[in-house]
């Protein structure tokens, strides 16, 4: 048996590496789109820098240095994804520890992969489809509180939807394998569609913003999260797996 500390530390380490590699993915696929979006923003506002700290500044103060340069923000990307990866990896490890016995597989690796798949659907995919992420230059600072709350709500709803899917699939399992799968899909989709209809619509993309750039950015963002969760799932599966060969080698 592994201790809580051992399970947690494995999650933190796997999360750190997953975050670093997700940051690399984001740097390669996402940064060009972030730069393009900022160029559009600056062209629209006549050279106003992209910096929250300048919000009080008048347009005449455009000479003012931004708090963090663009190069700093590009490097900060790796800090952000790494710290996020550590946090997520740790929470994932705690979830694995508490939920392991509820997962009906004898294989710890499959359990970790299943949990990662559930987490990706609930925490990434469900929020993504309702409120797709936006590049800089899109989004009204006035509505940030509302958008933050609805975003966090979609995460809670996403996890609830996965839970509903699993609960329904276990109930339907008595009617066969197809019913079991159907139960999962029904539980998930009914919850998600109902929530999507109730949650407010938010669309702050300016009419003039290029649709291609918008979606290139969104897919880069989705790819970043997919990289993180894939590596977290397979990494944690490898980290908790017991290797039968270990004992033979050591003996």
């Amino acid at each position: 048996m592994r201790t809580f500390g051992s399970l947690l530390v494995r999650g933190l380490i796997v999360g750190l590496f997953a975050g670093l590699l997700a940051g690399t993915f984001a740097y390669v696929t996402g940064e060009p789109h972030v730069d393009a979006a900022i160029a559009i923003e600056e062209a629209a506002s006549g050279g106003h820098t992209h910096d929250h700290g300048d919000e009080h500044a008048t347009p005449a103060a455009e000479e003012e240095e931004p708090l963090v340069s663009r190069d700093g923000q590009r490097a900060g990307l790796f800090l952000a994804t790494s710290l996020y990866g550590v946090a997520l990896g740790g929470i994932f490890a705690v979830g694995f520890t508490l939920l392991r016995r509820k997962l009906r597989t004898a294989n710890d690796g499959y359990a970790a992969l299943g949990l990662a798949a559930a987490g990706f659907v609930g925490i990434v995919l469900v929020p993504f489809l309702k409120y797709p992420p936006n590049p800089p230059a899109v989004g009204d600072p006035e509505t940030i509180t509302k958008r933050t709350i609805t975003y966090l709500l979609t995460i809670v709803i996403g996890l609830l939807a996965v839970w509903a899917g699993v609960a329904l699939s276990r109930w339907a399992a008595r009617y066969g394998d197809i019913a079991r799968l159907g139960g999962f899909v029904a539980g998930l989709l009914v919850t998600v569609v109902a929530a999507y209809l109730i949650l407010p619509r938010i669309n702050e993309v300016p009419d003039t913003f290029p649709a291609t750039l918008l979606w290139q950015f969104r897919f880069a963002s989705l790819g970043t999260q997919a990289t993180l969760w894939l590596l977290l799932g397979f990494g944690y599966a490898a980290a908790v797996a017991r290797r039968p060969s270990e004992q033979k080698v050591n003996a």
């Binding site: 940051g23 972030v34 708090l67 900060g76 952000a80 997520l88 929470i91 705690v94 929020p127 963002s221």
Partner: protein, 65 residues
């Protein structure tokens, strides 16, 4: 495939485990908050960390300005 009893490699649920879990998750959520939402209140760095992690926040899909 190994027998379930051997493969379940987690400690049994106990009050101590639940407290450890809750404390860990709370600290880790604070870390995630620092990346995703903080605007200086937690980091005490003004907007510096917020601006530094600006690109990461956008690309991780967190809503931002």
């Amino acid at each position: 495939m190994a027998a379930p009893a051997q493969s379940v490699a987690v400690p049994a649920i106990s009050p101590r485990l639940l407290v450890l879990s809750a404390v860990s998750v709370a600290l880790l959520l604070l870390l995630a908050y620092l990346v995703g939402f903080d605007q200086g209140a937690v980091s005490q760095s003004g907007m510096f960390l917020h601006e530094l992690m600006h690109d990461g926040r956008h690309l991780l899909g967190v809503p931002c300005h």
